[in-house]
């Protein structure tokens, strides 16, 4: 954990800042705030004391303070990454701390301008990225992306990444964070169960509906979902249906809060398809009252056939999944009618977001640490430990380390090529994200029709658009 020695000696400026915070000098706080945003932030205009092996000009003796979210992926890979950094800079003292409640524990550090050098901002209590960006608390990662990759001096780091990896962390065209894990979203099923029953994964939605009926005839629920904690997992299939039919523009308009975006024809068709599942009784009874862990457990225990989720699912369930389950990815099938994108188009985004705070004491060290993580060595180590793909192209050389889930995810990523898409409004507009969760839960539970759902979302989006106190983003 953070020991006292890492909370720096109160410099005169920091004491004044703290005094300002205690409200002793109200105007002082305003003045000091001005100081806060310009001090310590590495602007791209600074010249780097770069050298061949050290393109980011890292101070070889400066200590490195890394804080990670110690959750589903554990911290073994971090220890490996820190050791790589230490090998390159043996004189630098490194510290690695794994915590769970990022918000509560990091907030005071951000306010005191003493954040760590690298922060893995993930988990249920992650700090909303938009807030940190709006407060100027994050360093622009452009220098990192422009630097040469550790593996090949002639390519930049940016070129070593999978397409669409950095979409969700663009704010006004700047990359403000590094999401490390490349996540594919879709449906998941037990290949062995399907083999036993002679089922194959469909490429058309109508075939999926027929499959659902067959699954039901076997006494299983076709789908399960966690209504109380993660109904929004189903936003992914919903948007996938719409985008595959209507093209990327369907969700770009939604992200941009365009009027009527939620009521476009692809969205209507998609919502109707999902609503039909609810009215057909295709969801495990009681799903609206289950947490996602309960729903997932029901699924791996054979009470439900298919689960909508991202590719973290195998890792999350590994303690309970029975042997021979053969968890496999299934792409979201195509709606009837003409479709702009092939069925292999993939809803994909990167998560497990690493940040370098603008106030970090060893900012360049932080960037260098990220560069290390993006080497093939570190990326392969991560994937072998967690069975999750990183955003580094070709890392792990397509190995699946014995995991059917990873193998099918890799196959899906390869098949998708450049046809990846994702939505960003949930990161930009938290209130709209929350409304989305409430309303999709209503849709899945059969409490709303497709029309009600879409209208509710449209009016919520319109309110956000009209609210001038909310900062707007554009893609």
């Amino acid at each position: 954990m953070l020991s006292n020695s890492q909370i720096p000696e109160a410099s005169r400026r920091q004491v004044l800042r703290a005094a300002g915070l205690i409200g002793l000098a109200v105007p002082g706080a305003g003045l000091l705030a001005g100081c806060a945003t310009t001090s310590g932030a590495a602007s791209p205009a600074e010249t780097w004391a770069a050298s061949a092996g050290n393109p980011l000009g890292v101070d070889a003796t400066a200590p490195l303070d890394v804080v990670i979210f110690d959750g589903g992926y554990g911290d073994t890979f971090c220890k490996y990454d820190v050791s790589l950094y230490a090998k390159q800079f043996p004189k630098a003292k490194t510290a690695l701390n794994g915590i769970q409640d990022i918000e509560s524990q990091m907030q005071p550090l951000f306010v005191a301008d003493t954040p760590p050098d690298v922060l893995d901002n993930s988990g249920a209590s992650a700090i909303p990225l938009a807030t940190l960006v709006a407060d100027g608390q994050l360093a622009d990662l452009a220098p990192l992306l422009a630097a040469p990759s550790l593996d090949d001096q002639s390519t930049t780091v940016a070129d070593t990444l999978l397409p669409g990896a950095l979409t969700a962390v663009q704010f006004s065209g700047k990359t403000m964070a590094l999401p490390y894990v490349y996540t594919a979203y879709g449906f998941w099923y037990s290949a062995s169960l399907f083999r036993q029953n002679g089922w194959t994964w469909p490429t058309e939605w109508s075939a999926l509906v027929a499959l659902a009926a067959e699954i039901k005839a076997k006494g299983l629920a076709p789908f399960s979902y966690g209504g109380t904690t993660a109904p929004d997992y189903w936003l992914r299939p919903l948007f996938s249906l719409a985008v595959k039919q209507g093209g990327d523009q369907a969700i770009i308009d939604i992200d941009n809060l365009k009027s009527g975006a939620w009521l476009s024809e692809p969205m209507v068709n998609a919502a109707k398809a999902v609503a039909a599942l609810a009215s057909n009784g295709s969801f495990l009874a009681g799903s609206s009252g289950l947490s996602h862990t309960q729903a997932q457990t029901a699924w791996v225990k054979g009470q439900a056939g298919i689960y909508a989720s991202g590719s973290w699912i195998e890792n999350e369930m590994k303690g309970i999944t029975p042997a021979g389950f053969d968890m496999t990815f299934g792409a979201v099938p195509l709606l009837d009618g003409t479709n702009q994108l092939p069925v292999t188009a993939l809803s994909a985004a990167a998560s497990e977001t690493y940040l370098v705070p603008a106030q970090a004491k060893n900012l360049r060290g932080g960037l260098e640490y990220l560069r290390t993580m993006l080497s093939k060595d570190a990326a392969t180590e991560f994937t072998s430990l967690t069975h999750a793909p990183t955003i580094v192209k070709g890392a792990a050389a397509g190995q699946s380390f014995g995991s059917t889930a990873l193998a099918s995810t890799n196959a899906a990523i390869t098949a998708a090529g450049a046809n990846t898409f994702t939505y960003l409004y949930t990161g930009w507009y938290p209130t709209l994200a929350k409304t989305g969760k409430t309303q999709i839960a209503n849709l899945l539970a059969g409490r709303s029709s497709a029309e009600t759902f879409l209208n509710a979302m449209q009016s919520a989006a319109d309110s956000v658009a009209a609210d001038s106190s909310v900062a707007k983003h554009h893609r």
Partner: protein, 279 residues
Amino acid sequence: MIEKIRSALARVAAHGVLAVWALAATIPMLWALISAFKSNSDLFAAPWKLPSSWHFDNFVRAWSKADIGGYLMNTLIVVLSALALTMLLGAMAAYVLARFPFPGNRVIYYGFVAGMAFPLFLALVPLFFVVKNLGLLGTFPGLILVYTAYSLPFTVFFLTGFFRTLPAAVAEAAVLDGCSQEGVFFRVMLPMAKPGLISVGIFNFLSMWNQYLLPLVLNPDQHSYVLSQGLAALAVQQGYQSDWSALFAGMVIAALPVVAVYLALQKKVQTGLSVGLLK
């Protein structure tokens, strides 16, 4: 005769009602206890049956993943010290507020009550800086003082009500006998307030034992973690790794000392109550 039958029926009814609630209260916890011995598969596949095999390794996992022994020690140090300090300061303040009308009495009283009302996590960030500037961040004395300060509102609130119900006659007699006001408090009133003190003491012990937000922000060093922090970390980790049986095992381990203390104190409650009866 009819009296006897009615009496007996009434007793049976009483037992019935009490038994239903006793079952409702204990069955969930018994279930958690038994589940702590199950494998994860069993837990979900057969939640209401006895374990197919008794997995003591759940406890080992919980103990080693979370350094429960060390956290237990830390918690005991912090909680027992804070409890003693709270009871002393709280009783002193409550006594004065309850029995001495003076200008500002109501203001101070409501000042304490208001402290109970405000949601803790809003005060956390300013509190962090206050504690840091006092040089008490990450120290046990700092944590103890903060626990005490945040337990004062409820203690003062509760004990004030209690002190008000105690008879004035005994106190007046003691003063006439030459006892100082402070002496009256320590030698006469405090002993009379024992039942109330025990009740609020148990409550404070529990809420301090389970206190999470304060140490989260003020006690960042993992080696100094208290049990609630360790347990929460375990819960989050197990949640992500679906290792629920280790979580239940951890919970059982963490609850054992509390249950033991409560069962031991229960006798004190009985004695305390009977002292009250001899008035």
